[in-house]
Symmetry: C2
Subunit: 355 residues, 2 copies
């Protein structure tokens, strides 16, 4: 009989409407490929050469204030800019929505890129900050979401953190980024369609319905409190991918009460601590929030959540590569989401470096 | 006025119907992040510890024959298996095609994974093989596509090569893989829909129409012969991404004449040589063919092509990271496709290591 733990299968992601190929029998495969450099275990609390530490100068000559909790500024090398001429480029008349769209088509995209320093301490990470300090970061994210989203030319605000050199972070100082765009990015358009269709068909939030199923089954839950639940989604692509879902159906960080913000800070701390404890290393990942678009429409279907995409697979130095088949055909994973959840659940919530 | 070379914009990919964010102004950004280990410049022609070299033993104890050109075998650690029970798993009645699909949904996926050694020589790469030997590899790909595709439970055959440790290749011996699945993978479903719609709307092949536009404009062409053209697509995501398109509208490698196969071998050699010459390093990439699905339907819209996805951005050791915004929202690139094509076009077609 077909079994999810023994046989290759595909799982469906109802948020993006894509599939992931799961090969549960394949974990015994030996690894002779690339071995990563683990991050240094010790960092100073202040690094005179870090362009994010308080009081230091940045690439453009500006000097950071002597900040004591968080510090936000516009990225000195923004991928998006607010003041550019609007326009489009097309090889023929028409738009991408037509049956035969122009084969060459581009259009200007305005936007804003911000950097959010989580702490003045160069040596900390989300996992090693305390919950009240993390709640202050949540507040800053909520404020930035509201302020940037209120700009007339911003339709979507993407808040994220790239942690670790393996995830392209060029500075270990605890910080995240915000890239806000004029229009909804590709993946947001997909999540939007799925959530809207589910609301139209059932009258309920897709993620609220999904969360209820997961809470009933328990096998993919990692940790939870009264306000947020962290779990390995049924359709996880990355080995230890998780999703954090708010129990209450809200669309954005700015809708959260003070208690709920503290709840989010608590789940973030507990999840990232489990991650670090898994391979006893500062666990690399990209983590980001998906929130209601800010184009002015009400978007009642949107349900606030965060995705964490960590690349490590077998150890602190052996990662999963999303290459070949994955880039050309479909995402693929080896261990099952249930195995990943079980391993994360079994770990302590006390950080391995804390005394 | 809006300009593709100066202002942030999004480009539309008519094959997948996704967008890529282009930030042409951002190339001046300093890099303090991860620096990769370049591959060793010298490898022996035969390595007694390589499980792909002729006459050596593999992990499962089988011994490779003393092969003299190519060698194909079933992967000892296949991600897909031909003999598994069929079945599905769903949290409620219904399928992913419904308006409110089951939120947990999986189904068994049969398949086959094969390994194709390109040459008995451990020290070669596609770029360093000669054209007749490459044409033999093309023949083997065509034969495998036909033989695997003829199996009743195979709906799609993905042929690809992961080159270099940076792309997850665990062995430097020149080889590629074939993963064949029961159903069309996610990305193939998208390319299928786009090609079918274009054929229905215009009566022509999407990629033939696209190729005609590119040949007229010339600015994104890298190299070409009578049968195939290699170019940086208008919507390229990876810094030096290319697409190889057959001039004649055929759906699969097995439809190619002997001359066309030689033409494909020639373009593969010239393109991979330019890649190696760019940073004077054996250039890492994933490269693979998109061909007509093998589910028995005629698929007249399908147009044979190959995508090459190389990660390097600035040098032999600094890559592009597809993280954060890219994983959560939308693909993003810094240099424009036109700049990438110009740099690849300016390089010689004589390999930097050849004397
Ligand atoms: O099969 P290999 O070469 O060991 O593995 C490599 O290619 C596979 C197919 O693209 C990927 O799933 C693996 O992550 C990668 O390391
Ligand atoms: O902006 P950073 O941290 O220098 O850059 C990092 O994050 C960006 C946003 O995800 C990516 O585009 C870059 O590839 C990555 O290196």
């Amino acid at each position: 009989m077909f079994s999810l733990t023994d046989h290759p299968h595909r799982r469906y992601n109802p948020l993006t409407r894509e599939w992931v190929l799961v090969s549960p029998h394949r974990t015994k495969r030996p690894w002779q490929g690339q071995v990563e450099q683990p991050p240094p275990e010790q960092r100073p609390a202040y690094d005179p050469n870090c362009y994010l530490c308080p009081g230091n100068a940045r690439a453009n000559g500006e000097v950071n204030p002597p900040y004591e909790s968080t510090f936000v500024f516009t990225n000195d090398f923004s991928a998006l800019l607010p003041d550019i001429p609007s326009g489009e480029y097309a090889s023929s008349a028409g738009s991408p929505d037509d049956a035969a769209p122009p084969l060459l088509y581009a259009r200007s995209e305005r936007g804003i890129c911000r950097v959010v320093c989580f702490s003045p301490r160069h040596d900390l990470t989300l996992a090693e900050m305390d919950v009240p300090d993390l709640a202050r970061v949540v507040d800053v994210w909520a404020q930035e979401y509201e302020a940037i989203g209120a700009l007339p030319f911003i339709g979507y605000v993407q808040i994220f953190e790239n942690r670790g050199a393996m995830m392209g972070a060029s500075n270990p100082h605890p910080h995240g980024q915000i890239w806000a765009t004029e229009r909804m990015p590709s993946l947001i358009v997909r999540e939007d369609a799925a959530q809207c269709d589910h609301l139209a068909a059932t009258g309920r939030s897709l993620l609220a319905d999904y969360l209820a199923l997961e809470l009933e089954r328990e096998e993919r839950i990692v940790c939870a409190n009264d306000h947020f639940v962290a779990l390995v989604p049924f359709w996880a692509v990355w080995p230890f991918e998780t999703i954090i879902i708010s129990r209450r159906h809200v669309g954005a960080l700015s809708d959260l009460t003070a208690d709920e913000r503290m709840g989010l800070a608590d789940v973030l701390k507990r999840l990232t601590t489990r991650y670090d404890n898994l391979f006893q290393v500062s666990f690399p990942y990209s983590l980001g929030f998906h929130q209601r678009p800010t184009d002015g429409a009400p978007h009642p279907a949107w349900h606030l959540h965060a995705h964490a995409y960590p690349p490590l697979l077998r150890s602190a130095t052996v990662r999963k590569f999303m290459v070949g088949f994955e880039l050309l055909a479909e995402a693929q994973r080896d261990i099952t989401p249930e195995q990943a959840a079980e391993r994360l659940r079994a770990l302590p919530e006390r950080h391995y470096r804390s005394v």
